[in-house]
């Protein structure tokens, strides 16, 4: 009945610094290979893929792609009827990709390129009477979508079009005995969904409803002997949880509850020294998703060669400052 500790062992010859030039190469290649097998088969999430690549590149002060092409692509993905934005051409609008598109446009200071009233209308149309949000017109409910809704509206300065009190009430109803949050009421706590709910509360200025220390304890217990963080008890470490957990702790004012040096060592060990990019665990295949969240976590850990990141939006702090958006951070 006893359990074996689920963790990985870091080898001797692991990278101990950020290999910036390799990451730029990796992310740039990824953006250019539109006809590769990976690119075609992940077409259903292209907008988010672009957000991961472009934000990662911005965090290391690079923007190799022509802005116009990107903005034109986003414009072509907006559905004129609903106002929502799809993952790619020939796909359907969805809240996940609407947020990714708006985030990219903020990076490029090009929000005016799309029909913002359409976006506002779309997000507002997805709120239910109980305050929750559906991901699209087919009605899947999840706290991920509550986050997408308020993040999108906050970036375009239209938060007032939804019922915030009801939205907060729904997120609050997803709080668990351990202080964490799940995808719906009574769903198990999960670091990714905790990030969504904490960032939601940070953006709406309602962080006071969380059980600060109880939740922070659960979050810091995600750290394993390897230094890496997992997303739930008794699971393997994964670089993306470095971001979901660390950003939540930052918003809760408890970043110092983590062994920063051990985590930094783990994240750096997940770099692929041959191709560039970060993987979930050392020795696995790297991808843009883990590359963004690895770099963003290193930024929260104070690595000066990486741009400062905003904990709620996972975007460069300079972009959020320019938009004059303030998020709540607990002390």
């Amino acid at each position: 009945m006893g359990s074996i500790l689920k963790d990985v062992e870091l080898k001797e010859n692991i990278p101990t610094t950020v290999i910036f030039s390799k990451h730029i190469e990796f992310l740039t290649d990824y953006g250019q290979q539109k006809e590769s097998y990976e690119a075609v088969m992940t077409d259903y999430l292209r907008m988010s893929g672009m957000y991961w690549c472009l934000t990662a590149l911005e965090l290391i002060n690079t923007s190799p792609f022509p802005k116009n092409d990107i903005v034109e692509f986003i414009k072509s993905c907006q559905d004129t009827e609903s106002g929502g934005i799809s993952a790619s051409n020939d796909h359907d609008p969805h809240l996940l990709y609407t947020l990714s598109a708006v985030q990219i446009l903020c990076l490029y200071d090009s929000l005016d390129a799309i029909d913002l009233e359409g976006v506002t209308r779309y997000v507002a149309s997805l709120q239910n009477p109980d305050g929750s949000f559906a991901g699209d017109k087919w009605g899947e409910i999840d706290t991920r979508f509550s986050f997408c809704a308020v993040a999108t509206l906050s970036l375009i300065k239209k938060l007032d079009v939804i019922n915030i009190d009801k939205a907060v009430e729904f997120v609050k109803s997803c709080m668990n005995f351990d202080g964490g949050f799940g995808s719906r009421p009574q769903s198990e706590s999960h670091a990714g969904l905790i990030y969504c709910c904490v960032a939601f509360l940070s953006i709406t200025g309602k962080l006071d409803i969380v059980n600060q220390d109880n939740l922070a304890w659960w979050l810091c217990e995600r750290q394993l002997p390897s230094g890496g963080l997992n997303g739930r008890p008794e699971k393997l470490p994964d670089v993306c949880y470095s971001w979901w957990v660390l950003s939540s702790l930052a918003m809760l004012g408890r970043l110092h509850w983590i062994d920063r040096n051990a985590l930094k060592k783990y994240i750096l060990a997940c770099q692929d020294i041959e191709t560039g990019g970060f993987a979930d665990r050392p020795g696995d295949m790297p991808d843009p998703y883990h590359t963004l969240f690895g770099l963003a976590a290193l930024s929260l850990l104070g690595l000066e060669s990486i741009e400062k990141v905003n904990a709620a939006f996972c975007m460069p702090q300079s972009v959020i400052d320019k938009l004059q958006i303030h998020i709540q951070m607990l002390q």
């Binding site: 009945m1 006893g2 359990s3 500790l5 006809e35 097998y37 075609v40 088969m41 259903y44 999430l45 799809s86 993952a87 020939d90 796909h91 359907d92 969805h94 699209d136 087919w138 009605g139 899947e140 999840d142 668990n176 005995f177 351990d178 799940g182 995808s183 719906r184 009574q186 769903s187 198990e188 706590s189 999960h190 659960w218 217990e221 739930r232 008890p233 008794e234 699971k235 393997l236 994964d238 692929d272 993987a279 979930d280 665990r281 020795g283 696995d284 295949m285 991808d287 998703y289 883990h290």
Partner: protein, 244 residues
């Protein structure tokens, strides 16, 4: 990309793989184009529906294809308004299909949602069957939170027998004390009171003594110990016993 180990390939293997991938890209693109053109016509084309099955079996994350299938189902519902048998047959086939997809990729949000959506539009949904299905999937992976979430939706339909659910949680814990999903589930089930606290405390104490390095039970332990009905003396006694 989670848990995909990097494998070294020879130049020869790479050429073969590239060739195979090119074939797959071509088939995927052709299939998607066919489905899109038939979708625009607003009518049910069995060929197009079948191509979407082939793509989804391999890649259930292509959410737009699930949307397309929902549109087809809505058309069938309208068409079969006087022939419930025909409709049920169609929907049951679709339920079987989602089961295959869940079996291939148990952690795809879109598939679970599609299955629930079908049942919501089914004239005579068999919720009990879903309850049994969840048990089957949780036996394979007792931490799959998508399945736990689905099970909760089903229980909202069937109603919940507290004793039965408590027994279910205890059974899962007896198989594996480090099943945090089950500890969490207990926390949602029971309104703790003076009568039940003792039993819960014993169960969770037993778990942490069995395997003190397993973190799951400690969270539940802490929660129970913080309960207002636990007397100060009792709490002190339990905490003292941990020192040994």
């Amino acid at each position: 990309m989670h848990g995909r180990i990097k494998v070294r390939t020879t130049e020869e293997q790479k050429i073969l793989k590239d060739k195979e991938n090119k074939r797959k890209i071509c088939a995927y693109k052709k299939g998607m184009a066919y489905i899109l053109s038939s979708r625009k016509k607003d009518s049910y084309d069995p060929e197009s529906f079948s191509i979407s099955s082939q793509i989804l079996l391999l890649n259930p994350h292509v959410y737009t294809l699930w949307n397309y299938r929902k549109e087809v189902i809505l058309m069938e519902i309208q068409k079969c308004c006087n022939m419930e048998n025909e409709l049920v047959k169609f929907l049951e086939k679709e339920l079987d299909f989602t089961q295959q997809c869940i079996y291939n990729s148990p952690k795809c949000y879109s598939t679970w949602h599609h299955r629930y959506w079908i049942l919501e539009n089914h004239p005579s949904p068999n919720w009990d069957n879903e309850y049994t299905l969840c048990l089957k999937y949780l036996t394979v992976d007792d931490r799959n939170f998508l399945c736990w979430d689905y099970r909760r939706l089903i229980l909202n339909k069937t109603g919940l027998c507290l004793e039965k659910e408590l027994e279910f949680s205890t059974d899962r814990l007896n198989i594996n004390f480090s099943n945090y999903s089950s500890w969490h589930y207990r926390s949602t089930l029971r309104v703790l009171n003076a009568d039940t606290l003792e039993n819960e405390l014993n169960l969770v104490q037993n778990a942490v003594f069995t395997d003190p390095y397993d973190t799951s039970a400690w969270f539940y332990f802490r929660w129970i110990l913080n309960h207002k009905e636990i007397l100060r003396e009792k709490r002190k006694e339990v905490l003292e016993s941990l020192k040994n």
